[in-house]
């Protein structure tokens, strides 16, 4: 009996053609992606600018002009394209260059995803007097009632955002409370059935206002002169 095993010829992978093909494909793909990025970047930037401008106008309808500034402890600077969005405030001016309000962004996690808001702060009354939800993916029919409910919108007609005696934070935290239990001017009355989204809006507002409102008040004179 012949016990010799047949000689197995190793099947060689076509290394060079594989590298060549993948290299060629990478080249084509890299070129396409770079070209698409270069072509679309100005349009994307413009879309983002228009979207932000519309959101600011929605909360500051009396503003004739608006300017974006970056607020830091040591001062104010005009916002650049790469400025961190959470540090940027949009100051609305009337025709005479007087401040009509200051808009800022806030965000917090809702039921499905982050709930993004734009709110208007009025330094005269030290209150938040307008709010617009700019982006959210909450459940239709439940979470999205925050967009339409007139009672919920009334929370943001004069929401207390006064700063403490040291001027370092809000005197009272902005909190969302259970529907029908609002007692204080800094509380937000939640919508029954949409509590998670209502709370997300409250948290987003509080987080942003705690940081930005003291800086706005500290640099108010500089922001006012920015309109002229």
């Amino acid at each position: 009996m012949n016990t010799e095993l047949p000689v197995q010829v190793p099947v060689e992978s076509p290394t060079v053609p594989m590298i060549r093909t993948l290299g060629l494909i990478s080249l084509i793909c890299g070129f396409s992606v770079t070209l698409a990025y270069q072509w679309t970047k100005p349009h994307v930037d413009e879309n983002q600018r228009v979207t932000t401008e519309r959101a600011v106008l929605a909360v500051l309808p009396e503003a004739a002009t608006q300017k974006a500034f970056v607020l830091r402890v040591d001062g104010v600077a005009p916002a650049a394209a790469d400025s961190p969005p959470e540090d940027v405030v949009y100051v609305g001016y009337d025709a005479d260059g007087r401040i009509v309000g200051i808009a800022a962004r806030g965000a917090s996690r809702g039921y499905a995803d982050l709930v993004h808001v734009m709110f208007a702060y009025d330094p005269a009354c030290q209150c938040i007097n307008a709010l617009k939800v700019t982006k959210m993916n909450e459940t239709p029919g439940l979470g999205d009632t925050v967009l339409k409910d007139p009672d919920f919108k009334r929370n943001f007609e004069a929401l207390d955002a006064r700063v403490n005696a040291e001027g370092t934070a809000l005197a009272n935290r902005i909190v969302t409370v259970k529907h029908g239990t609002k007692r204080e001017a800094w509380q937000i009355d939640a919508i029954s059935g949409s509590t998670v989204t209502s709370k997300a809006i409250g948290r987003g507002l509080d987080r942003s206002a705690q940081r930005l409102v003291p800086l706005i008040l500290r640099h108010l004179a500089e922001l006012e002169s920015g309109g002229r």
């Binding site: 992978s13 093909t21 992606v33 879309n47």
Partner: protein, 219 residues
């Protein structure tokens, strides 16, 4: 689905089969994630359909062009890289056209990379057929996918919001069926359309059989 190893002649069927007989959604039941997730409005449905059509066409044409130089060991890797690149191009293009649509479609634009329709067509058709055949077939399949998404999007938007392409078409008194905008509504509407299409196909087959029988008896 066609699994031809030799090149087929270009016929009307090359284009039409993806729209009806091999419709990706209603017949081969592929690409179910975007089908159920983004068809809560007609605008989203048509945007996702057109984005998929673009990626399908561009990536499959390139696969067909390079089919003789792509070694079989790296073919899937090559297809995925090509598809991912065109998805990135579409991603930028949608951001440039409308940020609203971009945000509504969310992660499902990037997820076109793993859409079975595109990889399936690349492996089963484009890697074996000429560039022209592939382009025609891809356009047909893309249109079939877009129409299927539109069928779902129209029904879901009308019943779920009382609007069509954002324009109110049902009276204010109409109480929207919010369920239609939720994923569960997508399943219901998909099932309804599949039932209707299956019933139409069966009726067509029955009529053909009856006609065949009448011819035989008439002899």
């Amino acid at each position: 689905m066609s699994l031809l190893n030799k090149e087929e002649p270009l016929t009307l069927d090359t284009f039409v089969r993806g729209i009806w007989r091999e419709n990706p959604v209603f017949v081969t039941v592929l690409g179910m994630c975007p089908t159920l997730a983004v068809t809560n409005s007609a605008t989203n449905a048509i945007s996702m359909g057109l984005a998929t059509l673009f990626v399908l066409l561009c990536s499959n044409v390139l696969v067909s062009m390079l089919r003789k130089v792509i070694p079989k060991e790296v073919r899937i890797a090559s297809y995925i890289v090509l598809i991912a690149s065109f998805v990135t191009v579409v991603d930028y293009a949608i951001q440039a056209i409308s940020l609203e649509v971009y945000e509504a479609l969310g992660a499902f634009i990037q997820l076109i990379v793993v859409n079975c329709i595109i990889l399936g067509r690349a492996e089963a058709y484009a890697s074996r057929q000429t560039v022209v055949n592939t382009a025609v077939n891809s356009i047909g399949t893309g249109i079939g996918f877009t129409l299927a998404l539109l069928c779902l999007g129209v029904v879901r938007e009308v019943l779920g919001a009382g609007t069509l392409f954002g324009v109110r078409i049902l009276p204010e008194q109409f109480q929207p069926w919010v369920l239609m905008l939720l994923p569960a509504g997508g399943f219901f509407v998909l099932a309804g359309w599949m039932l209707l299409i299956d019933w139409m196909n069966h009726r067509k087959e029955r009529k053909a059989l009856e006609q065949e029988g009448a011819t035989v008896h008439g002899q």
